[in-house]
């Protein structure tokens, strides 16, 4: 039987830049700012880092991180795993520490998306055509989730007029949370009417059902749990690390229902088993989940076991996932407020959970949270990657 990661590894410092259209900052600038905030938070010197894992989808090597931070010939590994890139960098860093090979390592995610001269994440149109090496499923990200939204409505019998306000509530909630967060890209609350009446992107998803695109970076300093107290008292423990990758079952098999993300379900199973979580809705205080689209957050609530199948809309309507609800979802504002610099998002989520566990989340602070979760989902339901991390307060 494989061992669990639970309580073997601790986070002793984190940093996160303000996300946004950081025209004045290069990728290296953001790496430096995130890393030095983390150094200071952990009370360490740059030379204390023994190895680093660098998450980015666009920057293809570890070398830019070593150069930005002037590492002294230490190992740097670049990790890419779609939207779970930063989380996977963190995960691999945790495993390296747990192995006993290193005492202090860094995981850093960074993405500079706003130098391309175009909005959006690209993709869309033209994809899916054979004659590319792999016949990648067609369309850009909003195609993937518009497919799921259309199917969800059909599957559970939702009419547009009733379903759209549910999606709008998710957007309103996340933008409200983001308005309390000085590091968010968008810090303006929106109204349900604005969300409902925004221009249509891919039916039923309008502009406010989609997350923005931005630049960002975030970093974590990770040590073995048994030496964490040498750095600080309020270190945060890793309780579970799950990762699951689909094999295009959603595209190849008629039995795939497209109203859930099996990758999320499986990654959560792994992480819950490691953390010993039985009833996630009751046990988890807050969750940073991958709200790339409002429909994604809705379905994630069911995939993570926060709501029974088909009942997430009802839970959303009841406000159970609001900042003051039973289980705060995206208390920092989520991708909706931060945008999605792909290789940085997972560590940005961990940053919020880390601060919440330490009671340092300012106006967004939950009351005595003990367990928090982060979740990412990349690419298509049934042909994607999902990661789930559980962090907890020290005893």
């Amino acid at each position: 039987m494989a061992e669990s990661i639970k309580d073997k590894v601790a986070i002793v410092g984190m940093g996160c830049v303000k996300f946004g259209e950081n025209w004045e900052q290069s990728a290296e600038d953001m790496m430096i700012d995130a890393a030095y905030e983390a150094y200071e938070d952990a009370g360490i010197e740059p030379k204390d880092i023994q190895a680093a894992w660098f998450g980015s989808t666009q920057i293809g090597q570890g070398e830019p991180l070593a150069t930005a931070l002037k590492f002294d010939y230490i190992p740097v590994t670049r990790v890419e795993n779609l939207c779970a890139t930063a989380t996977d960098a963190f995960r691999n860093a945790c495993f390296a520490v747990a192995s006993g090979m290193y005492d202090v390592v860094m995981a850093l995610g960074c993405e500079k998306l706003k130098d391309t001269g175009r909005g959006g994440l690209g993709g869309g149109g033209g994809g899916g055509a054979p004659g590319s090496a792999l016949m990648v499923p067609a369309g850009g990200p909003f195609h993937y989730f518009s497919r799921m939204a259309n199917r969800y409505m059909e599957h559970y019998g939702w009419r547009y007029e009733e379903f759209k306000p549910i999606l709008a509530k998710i957007a309103v909630k996340n933008h409200y949370n983001g308005s309390l967060n000085p590091k968010a890209h968008f810090q303006r609350p929106i109204t349900e009417e604005q969300a409902i009446n925004a221009p249509m992107m891919a039916w039923p998803l309008g502009l406010y059902d989609c997350c923005g695109v931005s630049d960002g970076a975030a970093a974590a300093i990770i040590t073995r749990a048994d030496i964490a107290k040498n750095f600080r008292d309020d270190y945060v423990l890793v309780k579970g690390l799950g990762l699951a990758v689909g094999a295009r079952q959603g595209y190849l098999q008629q039995s795939y229902d497209m109203v859930h993300m099996e990758e999320t379900v499986r990654a959560a199973q792994q992480a819950y088993a490691q953390a010993g979580i039985k009833d996630p809705y009751k046990e988890i205080d807050l969750a940073e989940v991958h709200d790339c689209f409002t429909i994604t957050e809705l379905v994630i609530m069911e995939d993570l076991g926060f709501a029974p199948r088909g009942r997430a809309p009802e839970y959303v309507k009841e406000g159970r996932f609001n900042l003051d609800g039973d289980l705060a979802v995206n208390p920092d504002g989520g991708l909706k407020s931060f945008g999605h610099p792909i290789g940085a998002s997972g560590l940005r989520m961990l940053y919020e959970v880390y601060k919440q566990m330490q009671g340092k989340a300012g106006p967004r602070q939950r009351k005595n949270p003990t367990l928090g979760l982060t979740h990412n989902f990349g690419l298509n339901p049934g042909s994607g990657v999902a990661s789930v991390c559980i962090l907890g307060q020290r005893d």
Binding site: G124, G125, G126, G128, A129, P130, G131, S132, A133, M135, P137, A138, G139, F142, H143, S146, R147, M148, N150, R151, E154, R159, Y160, P199, M200, M201, A202, W203, P204, A247, R248, Q249, Y251, L252, Q253, Q254, Y256, M258
Partner: protein, 478 residues
């Protein structure tokens, strides 16, 4: 005796006609959409023609057109691949003249007679361009016909044929021109059409030992209704002997015109009927067909009838110029698809082959070496999906896609084939007014071979899905 074993046709869905703003001609004409060309229309007609006949028994394909997508490269091989014919077959393009359709029919009959093949597919398709708002643009239409030629189970025997070669620059297009050119029309008709066709037909009938009265239907080329009518007079035909030239419904479809009219004639033909087919262009081809008892057993799936009756009226002439006349992207420029990748994936691209696992029977697309269900490795048969119906499982209505307004929202469908297997395809020939109710999940769709894009000098084809053609039968009447 050699003849037509089976026949089929394709008429594009879109028509200019009453209801098309800015269209002043009295007739309707059929026009190819931006993702259609002579090759895609040939594929559609060929599939309409072959029906349930085992495609592996077909020994070759002749592709006839004046508008092949390539100057060097066969359209016949692409067409044959899309129709899923064998590889050890005869493929050839017959090109460059309005007679190419009838010429290909003659050549196919001779090939069968010579014993070089037992069953041959002939496609005739055209998609000619005339300058916008020109007289020719009022008449030029797009379409295709297809015939299976063989010597058993023949529905119409090819009794005799005759050709006449005449060097004349009455209508032409040089290898660098986009548009068809023509000399002054009085000269074109007086010194060309009317001077050539009547004596050729007379000579042919004489050689056959027949008179005009012996022929049930005359199927002949005409550039427009007026000239076609004058020709009927000159030939001394009685009205029932004249095959409706369908100018009012589809226009002059070039090399496909006479073949399409032949399909229309065969749809109405009775055993014993004698049909005379005459094409015109750089001379003339004439064929005599005799309809057999077999005709009652051969019916194309849609033929001319259903294809003509199912249509979408293009709202404006401007829109037509957008999808029909504008080049599809930078044809010569870079950014084209990869020829080597296309070749590698040809099973998936042209015949729309998925794989069917020999162990668990799961159908999957695109082809998978390791089964998605039971993980059996390299243990599958290719399985054709192009002729299978499917239902929409879920959909994408993309209002933000960078497509021309006439094609927005761009629609992507995740479909489940009735035979198993799931695919994700763009939807074409669709119309959407209310996203809540139009193109719903669960609707039936069929596959259609279309052009995705042009780039780097490569025409890139794949399949799309579309609402069943029959679903358009009554829409325009409402």
């Amino acid at each position: 005796m050699v003849g037509i074993v089976s026949y089929g046709a394709y008429v594009p869905l879109r028509r200019l006609g009453r209801g098309t703003q800015g269209w002043r001609a009295p007739n309707e004409k059929a026009v190819a959409y931006y993702d259609e060309d002579s090759l895609t229309m040939a594929v559609a007609a060929a599939i309409d023609c072959v029906g349930d006949i085992d495609r592996r028994t077909i020994d070759g394909l002749y592709f006839a057109s004046t508008t092949s997508p390539y100057k060097e490269k066969l359209a016949a091989t692409t067409t044959a691949s899309a129709v899923d014919l064998r590889s050890d077959i005869l493929t050839m393009d017959v090109a460059d003249t309005l007679r190419s359709g009838t010429g290909a029919l003659r050549m196919a009959a001779d090939t069968i007679k010579a014993g070089s093949a037992r069953l041959l597919l002939v496609t005739a398709s055209d998609c000619r361009l005339a300058p916008p708002r020109s007289e020719m643009d009022q008449t030029f239409g797009d379409g295709a016909a297809a015939f299976l030629i063989g010597d058993t189970n023949v529905a119409a025997t090819i009794e005799a044929s005759y050709s006449f070669s005449n060097e004349l620059l009455d209508m032409w297009r040089s290898n660098t021109s986009r548009y068809v050119h023509t000399w002054e029309d009085r000269w074109v008709y007086e010194e060309g059409y009317f001077k050539v066709l009547p004596p050729v037909i007379a000579e042919f009938l004489k050689r056959c030992g027949l008179t005009t009265q012996d022929i049930t239907k005359f199927i002949f080329y005409g550039p427009n209704p007026r000239r076609h009518g004058e020709m009927a007079q000159k030939l001394g035909l009685k009205p029932p002997q004249i095959q409706d030239p369908l100018f009012s419904k589809m226009g002059d479809t070039g090399a496909a015109f006479v073949p399409m009219l032949l399909v229309a004639a065969l749809e109405e033909a009775k055993p014993g009927d004698k049909l005379l087919c005459a094409s015109y262009g750089d001379g003339a081809d004439v064929l005599l067909l005799r309809v057999t008892d077999q005709i009652t057993k051969v019916k194309p799936k849609r033929g001319m009838k259903v294809h003509l009756a199912s249509k979408m009226i293009v709202p404006s002439y401007e829109q037509y110029l957008g999808f029909h006349h504008q080049p599809m992207g930078n044809e010569e420029g870079g950014g084209g698809p990869s020829a080597s990748a296309i070749a590698r994936e040809r099973e998936a691209i042209y015949p729309l082959h998925g794989t069917k696992c020999r162990v668990c029977g799961t159908v999957q697309y695109p082809p998978q070496r390791v089964c998605t269900n039971c993980r059996a490795k390299d243990n599958f048969d290719y399985y054709r999906l192009s002729d299978k119906k499917a239902k929409v499982f879920t959909r994408v209505l993309d209002y933000a896609a960078p497509v021309p307004a006439y094609d927005s929202p761009s629609v992507d469908m995740m479909i489940d084939w009735e035979c198993g297997g799931r695919g994700n395809f763009e939807m074409t020939d669709k119309r959407i007014n209310d996203p809540r109710t139009d193109l719903p999940i669960g609707m039936e769709v069929e596959m259609t071979f279309r052009k995705l894009r042009v780039g780097g000098g490569i025409h890139h084809y794949w399949w799309k899905c579309m609402p069943l053609r029959e679903s358009w039968l009554e829409k325009e009447e409402k």
